[in-house]
């Protein structure tokens, strides 16, 4: 990745340009995802403190949709995009290359308060901007600074100006600063800083054209050389003196002490008694809304797919002579049933992502991290570990990616092992279904309790891990920047929701389609001779049924030893979204009548539990909560903590899930 992990000789070889490698990509641009401009076009890097508006500016410049939010650590992956701009002056950089319309690659780097940071994300910014060989870094760095907190934003600028290269400062949050009685004079600031300064508002897209013009102009200028420090002063001394001077000359303060709006809100949100109550009430409201509002949308989509779409497909296949064949089985019972089931839960996931986006963008989630710091501290994790865990409640995969914001390797490892126990939206779909089947009007409360159980599981397992594996876990004291509250914008909320929904569907769709086809294949293959031909075998006598029947007795102690339930759990190991489709497939093929899926599931639990279906379904929900989330999560874990720890994590999940399910059923049936 960088020269820090490569010998100088190897690095030199890698950088040598030979005819065999005519189109090299600069080192600073090799990481991340997204399109890049043509080779030889400039690279513009966006740097700045967390939550200063880098991703929003990136989206405005490139038209891309990087993840944005009002809390530190939103950018955990480097996003790349192409910025197309008009060529500026007659002798501009763009003009010399032959055309008025030019393009540049823009890279959105993770948040950094300085260039000597300790977290992997912040270190990455240094590696890609500073520690790259000459000619391998970005052609221009845009440092975003917060006008309301100029002094601390300028520390990074102070370090950047000591490096050779083009630098432009973009001042954000000027409206916030004005409310605090601070006026930023960009002309005076530019004079003091010695680099161009532009005021922008990425959230409302104002000042972007001006910034684009300045960037275009700067790219036509030769890069500056590194600035020498004054003799006799330490680096920090000189930087602080420079910052003091810049703030004094570049800003005007009214001197009035304002009681900030955020402080007024925090009186309630962070109140010793009301704060935790509000936190729990908000979490409860989020999940209640997702169950109540999403249900009719899900029902409508379910009707559409299982009715007109499936019937239409059957009719079309019948018209070409494939009615009743294994092809119809694959298309209708496999593809349409499986993918259709996934699609019916899109409204549920979208709703959850909208609510999470609103909490993030408003600034509340940073407060939630403060409120939960004591609890997290009890299990040896910093308050900041709360953030990836909350993301895990949406989807475990980005939650695990977000652990990169934790500075300590052991904290990252432990958080990665705990995140699979957070109840993601894919599990939510099954909980909602089981809740509506077994708990009637208490369905919402049952789903809420599953989240409480998830939180308890994380705390108890965290305590166990800390008391056994990580007795000497280093402490990471809470230091978290609280962003001011802001009104979430529709555009931003929609963009964040769409990015997450799309990412989720992209990750899950392939796996789910593959899973459903594999399940259908296993159902189509007879388990022995004389049981029927391919695609014409009863499910009980198929390979799928045989495998599930072999596993089912293991769950006798937990009250759900039905083979269909065991089969659904096998599928759930691959993707939780496919569990309901597996049930639908199994019962539809096995029975063929029009009895609702819910009745099948209810009967299955009543039979397998010996008349204690509620205890059995509670045990099943506990098992479902604790065992391995999906193969996509395993892939993310392997990337972050390696295959060994990932395998250990799977063992832990299965052991905990089984133990808790047995205890739940055995205790539950006595009540």
């Amino acid at each position: 990745m960088s020269l820090l992990t490569t010998s100088p000789a190897k690095a030199k070889r890698r950088l040598s340009l030979t005819p065999l490698r005519p189109v090299p990509v600069k080192q600073c641009c090799r990481q991340g995802s997204g399109p890049i401009a043509a080779p030889g076009e400039p690279i513009v890097a966006l740097v700045g403190a967390p939550n200063v508006g880098k991703s929003t500016l990136f989206n405005a410049l490139t038209g891309a949709r990087a993840s944005v939010g009002n809390w530190p650590g939103t950018t955990v992956e480097i996003a790349r995009g192409i910025w197309r701009f008009e060529a500026g002056e007659p002798d501009s950089w763009a003009k010399r290359r032959g055309g008025p319309q030019r393009q540049a690659t823009v890279i959105d780097l993770p948040g950094a308060y300085s260039l000597d940071s300790l977290s992997p994300d912040e270190r990455l910014t240094r590696e890609l901007v500073v520690d790259v060989p000459p000619g391998e870094g970005p052609d221009l760095v845009v440092a975003l600074v917060d006008a309301a907190h100029l002094s601390r934003s300028l520390f990074l600028v102070a370090q950047l100006r000591e490096q050779a290269g083009r630098l432009v400062v973009a001042v954000t949050m000027t409206d916030m600063a004005r409310r605090h009685g601070i006026e930023v004079d960009t002309y005076a600031l530019a004079e003091t800083l010695g680099v161009p300064v532009v005021a922008i508002d990425p959230r409302h897209r104002s000042g972007i054209n001006n910034l684009a013009r300045v960037l275009s102009e700067q790219l036509s200028q030769p890069p500056t050389v590194a600035r020498a420090r004054q003799a006799g002063l330490s680096g920090d001394d000189e930087r602080f003196a420079w910052i003091t001077q810049a703030v004094a000359q570049g800003t005007q303060e009214s001197g009035e002490t304002q009681v900030r709006r955020s402080d007024k809100v925090d009186r309630w949100i962070l109140h010793p008694v009301l704060g935790p109550i509000i936190f729990l009430a908000l979490m409860w409201a989020v999940f209640e809304i997702t169950t109540v509002v999403a249900a009719p949308l899900q029902d409508g989509l379910d009707w559409l797919i299982s009715g007109p779409v499936s019937n239409g497909a059957s009719a079309a296949l019948g018209a070409i002579g494939l009615g009743g064949s294994w092809v119809e089985g694959l298309v209708v019972s496999g593809l349409i049933a499986g993918v259709g089931s996934l699609l019916t839960f899109v409204p549920l996931m979208a709703l959850m992502f909208v609510l999470l986006a609103l909490l993030e963008d408003s600034g509340y989630l940073a407060r939630a991290a403060v409120l939960t710091d004591r609890v997290m501290g009890a299990i040896g994790l910093p308050g900041r570990a709360f953030l990836p865990i909350v993301v895990g409640f949406g989807c475990n995969v980005p939650g695990i990616a977000a652990t990169r914001t934790l500075p300590q390797a052991q904290h990252r490892l432990m958080t990665c092992l705990l995140i699979p126990f957070t109840s993601c939206t894919a599990r939510l779909t099954v909980f909602v279904m089981l809740g509506s089947i077994f708990f009637d009007r208490w369905a919402g409360t049952a789903v809420f309790l599953s989240y409480v159980a998830s939180i308890l599981l994380i705390v108890v397992l965290g305590l166990l891990l800390r008391g056994t594996v990580w007795r000497n876990l280093p402490s990471d004291p809470l230091v978290i920047d609280l962003p001011p509250y802001q009104t979430p914008t529709v555009r931003l909320t929609a963009a964040v929701t769409w990015v997450r929904l799309k990412g989720f569907l992209q990750t899950a769709a392939g796996i789910i389609v593959a899973t459903v086809i594999v399940v259908w294949l296993l159902q189509a293959i007879p388990a022995g001779a004389g049981l029927g031909g391919f695609g014409a075998v009863a499910v009980e006598q198929s390979l799928y049924g045989a495998i599930a029947r072999g596993i089912a007795p293991v769950f006798a102690g937990a009250g759900f030893a039905q083979w269909q339930t065991a089969a659904a759990l096998i599928v759930g190991f691959v993707a939780k979204e496919a569990v309901i489709s597996s049930w639908a497939q199994t019962y539809a093929v096995a029975d063929g009548n029009e009895v609702a899926l819910g009745e099948h599931v209810r009967l299955a639990f009543e039979q397998s539990s010996g008349g204690h279906p509620i205890a059995a379904v509670a045990a099943f929900m506990v098992f479902f909560l604790a065992y391995t989330p999906c193969v996509a999560t395993l892939a993310a874990q392997k990337r972050e903590i390696g295959a060994g720890w990932t395998c250990l994590g799977v063992g832990l999940q299965l052991a905990v899930a089984f133990l808790l399910a047995v205890v739940t059923f055995q205790v539950g049936r006595l009540l």
């Binding site: 300085s114 000597d116 907190h149 370090q159 002063l233 910052i243 001197g255 962070l270 004591r374 004291p477």
Partner: protein
């Protein structure tokens, strides 16, 4: 003025930072947020978990209970306090940066 821990200070009491944090990681993080000797600081409130919400360099920063006990501050008189600002002259930190 007497040096005391941040945890011992009263809410809204005008304070000035006496020294960087002892823990290197916390010291660095706080330094980038404006915790530098001579900087003005004020406790806004404490949460149930013992976190301290402080006003530092014009922003709000949450500091954990244990760290608040280790951070050294000095009280200043209300007349001399004024708005929270950067120190007028450069100061030397214990840890080296970059």
């Amino acid at each position: 003025m007497t040096v005391m821990s941040l945890a011992a200070a009263a809410p809204r009491q005008p304070l000035v930072v006496d020294a960087p944090a002892v823990d290197p990681a916390a010291a660095h993080r706080l330094m980038t947020l404006g915790w530098r000797p001579g900087a003005r600081v004020q406790i806004i409130r404490r949460t149930l978990g013992g976190a301290h919400i402080i006003a530092l360099a014009g922003a709000r920063v949450a500091v954990g209970r244990r760290l608040a006990k280790e951070l050294q501050v000095r009280p200043v008189s209300p007349e001399a306090a004024g708005p929270v600002r950067l120190p007028d002259r450069p100061v030397r930190l214990g840890g080296a940066a970059a």
